[in-house]
């Protein structure tokens, strides 16, 4: 089956899909492929993007033919280990395209986060093969916009919602653990596969390996000169959500081996004095490359992402255990260490940012908020305060997935760089 036959089988709107994908090769070539001195091991990830709606979708389709299910997620809190244990696929869906925002606005208010509108639009337009190949969406209650949007999405694809608490007290931990246990039963029911100590232990190991590979990559970025562009790492972080976890971890480790050599040789992709930027805030889901591209175009290098398409996804791993109950308890524990702005209070996040800024030797912090994101938008006040206390230059940026404000964003980024260099 070729790509078009596959897309037809998935009920996609081929005409619209062609229109959506048409500009991507040119953008990807100029932003990624044309940049000098990229690590050779980026070749694998370039290949994945080069056929982003092909290779992996074929694999998922084949898995389904063999009886497995595909579960789509939108948040780093959803315990993918449980899905993987049953031999089914967990994929984090893309939601970073302006193209689908206007379709999303047919059913959602305009003054809503572009990520939610983009997601909804992908489903309504039928142009995302990952959405089309999915049996279920696993939603969560990380913000009011998503919480209510799941109800609408459920009209188009079965949507299961996990109730994430808003505090991290003992009773919240209990609630979340219960949610995780219920989720495990739900997955068993849906996949008709029983979770065993063996398959769950293996899944925990698989996902831990993936997270550890990403940690290794993140840690290499603390070196000067930066061995890899932030934009390349962002791409890898974005792909981590839907590639096959075993193959992906192997490829990230291969890249890290190459970067180890660069670090040893003292070579990198940016001059030694290039300003080092830590990006914090809301995620940049595929294909939202604008922010990183502008920062690096302006002569700086992004050395870390305190976001869900970054550190928040991989900073913690799940502790192994020897029985299912303890494993599920540990699976529940990991996400509660992640400091998302949906929690209150969220002082841990300020500590995370301060630690990252120090560890990565960041010259400045750019706190990025997607338009209309209430939780991160409000919390940006504390990020600014913390950076002032630490005397780290700080810039607050708000944007969406559109291209129109690139000039305005670039002016701010350039001024920040001038500030650092003055």
């Amino acid at each position: 089956m070729d790509n078009r036959e596959l897309w037809t089988a998935l009920g996609m709107d081929l005409e619209k899909h062609d229109d959506f994908l048409a500009p991507v090769p040119a953008i990807f070539t100029s932003l990624f492929l044309d940049r000098p001195n990229r690590p050779k091991a980026m070749g694998y990830f370039d290949m994945v993007v080069g056929d982003v709606h092909g290779i992996r979708v074929h694999e998922l389709y084949a898995m389904k033919e063999a009886g497995a299910k595909v579960f789509s997620t939108f948040c780093v809190y959803v315990p993918e280990e449980i899905i993987v244990a049953t031999g089914s696929a967990n994929i984090g869906l893309c939601a970073g395209a302006q193209y689908t925002v206007s379709s999303g606005e047919k059913v959602l208010p305009r003054n809503l986060c572009p990520l939610i509108k983009s997601t909804m639009g992908f489903k309504l337009d039928r142009i995302c093969p990952y959405f089309q190949v999915s049996d279920w969406v696993i939603g969560e209650t990380t913000c009011d916009g998503k919480k209510k949007a799941w109800e609408i999405l459920n009209e188009h694809i079965p949507t299961y919602v996990m109730d994430l608490p808003q505090k991290k007290d003992a009773k919240d931990t209990r609630l979340w653990e219960e949610e995780v246990r219920e989720f495990a039963s739900f997955i068993e029911r849906e996949t008709k596969v029983t979770i065993t100590p063996e398959n769950l232990a293996k899944a925990i190991q698989t996902i831990n390996n993936k997270r550890q590979a990403l940690q290794r990559l993140a840690n290499l970025r603390k070196h000067t000169p930066a061995p890899i562009h932030g934009l390349d790492v962002l791409l890898i972080n974005q792909l981590s959500f839907f590639d096959d976890p075993v193959r992906f971890a192997a490829q990230v480790n291969a890249l890290c081996d190459e970067l180890d050599v660069r670090v040893k040789e003292g070579s990198g992709v940016a001059p030694v004095d290039a300003p080092r930027i830590l990006v914090t805030g809301t995620p940049q889901p595929l294909p939202a490359w604008k922010l990183h591209a502008l920062i690096e175009q302006a002569g700086a290098v992004v050395v870390g992402e305190e976001t869900c398409t970054g550190e928040r996804y991989y900073k913690d791993i799940t502790e192994p255990a020897d029985n299912i109950s303890d494993m599920l308890a540990n699976i529940a524990k990991r996400p509660l260490k992640v400091n998302c702005a949906c929690f209150t209070p969220n002082q841990g996040r300020m500590e995370d940012i301060a630690f990252m800024a120090d560890n990565l030797k960041a010259d400045a912090v750019i706190d990025f908020t997607l338009q209309f994101c209430q939780t991160y938008g409000v919390e940006s006040y504390f990020v600014g305060k913390e950076m002032e206390k630490k005397e780290i230059p700080f810039l607050r940026l708000e944007s969406d997935f559109s291209d129109e404000d690139q000039g305005q964003l670039l002016t701010r980024i350039e001024a920040l760089i001038e500030m650092i260099r003055a």
Partner: protein
């Protein structure tokens, strides 16, 4: 040695030339939607008058990236540098340009420490005032009366809606001076909040074309409960800063 600063703004394009640190030339012309062309014209007329191009050139402002020559520095850095010449002791700058508004905090050395910009929404920019004042077709008498008038509150956040709010008020027979006073007061309030999201200056440097509206300055002082100082040519400080950095 001659050094020049060229500020390619959305509404006006400005050139300042210094010789051994002293200002020998300045000129402002409208950008007419093509600030790059306006900049070329300005430089050309300078060369016609003075015989030669300045040795060093820094370009800044919205059109800077497309200008064929000169070193590029953002208007934020240039503004801080230019203002520092006039007011080395004051830290906070409010710049109200045609297309955007900025608040800049500078250090004792005139370097930028922090800044914020609004260029996404016309409300609270020079454009907002221009659009509405143009529509009102004011006499200088009415403008003067506005200083004493009781300001009518204007609530709309959007330029287009604020304009219709103003039209509705006038249709109801509310005197123009009250409407104008309201317009400046609401803009001042918005700008004061903008300033206070960065800090609480006892004395604020006010630059850009917007600093020419004395009524705005009046209301802004009241809102901020502080003093406002304005450089002699408030629309030229960024180009002066650019020349100094050249």
């Amino acid at each position: 040695m001659k050094q020049a600063g060229l500020d390619l703004g959305s509404v006006n394009t400005k050139l300042v030339v210094l010789e051994n640190g002293k200002r020998i030339y300045n000129q402002v012309i409208p950008s007419r939607f093509d600030s790059v062309q306006a900049g070329i014209t300005l430089l050309k007329s300078y060369v016609e008058e003075h015989g030669e191009k300045p040795k060093k050139l820094v370009v800044t402002g919205y059109g800077r990236v497309n200008f064929p020559e000169g070193r590029v520095i953002t208007e934020i850095t240039c503004q801080a540098r230019g203002c520092h010449v006039y007011f080395p002791d004051y830290a906070y700058i409010l710049d109200l340009g045609g297309q955007d508004a900025k608040v800049i905090k500078k250090s004792a050395q005139g370097k930028v420490v922090q800044f914020i910009m609004n260029d996404k929404c016309a409300a609270g920019t020079g454009r907002f005032l221009d659009v509405i004042l143009k529509g009102l077709d004011l006499t200088s008498m009415e403008m003067e009366l506005a200083t004493e008038a009781k300001p009518m509150p204007i609530n709309s956040m959007c330029t287009v809606f604020a304009e219709s709010e103003v039209i509705t008020m006038l249709a109801k027979g509310i005197p123009k001076p009250e409407v104008i006073a309201g317009l400046f007061k609401s803009t001042a309030k918005r700008l004061a909040n903008f300033v206070e999201s960065v800090g609480h200056p006892e004395c604020l440097i006010f630059t850009g074309g917007g600093a020419h509206y004395s009524l705005l300055v009046h209301f802004l002082e009241r809102e901020l409960k502080g003093k406002i100082v304005i450089p002699s040519d408030p629309e030229l400080t960024a180009s002066l800063g650019a020349a100094l950095l050249a």
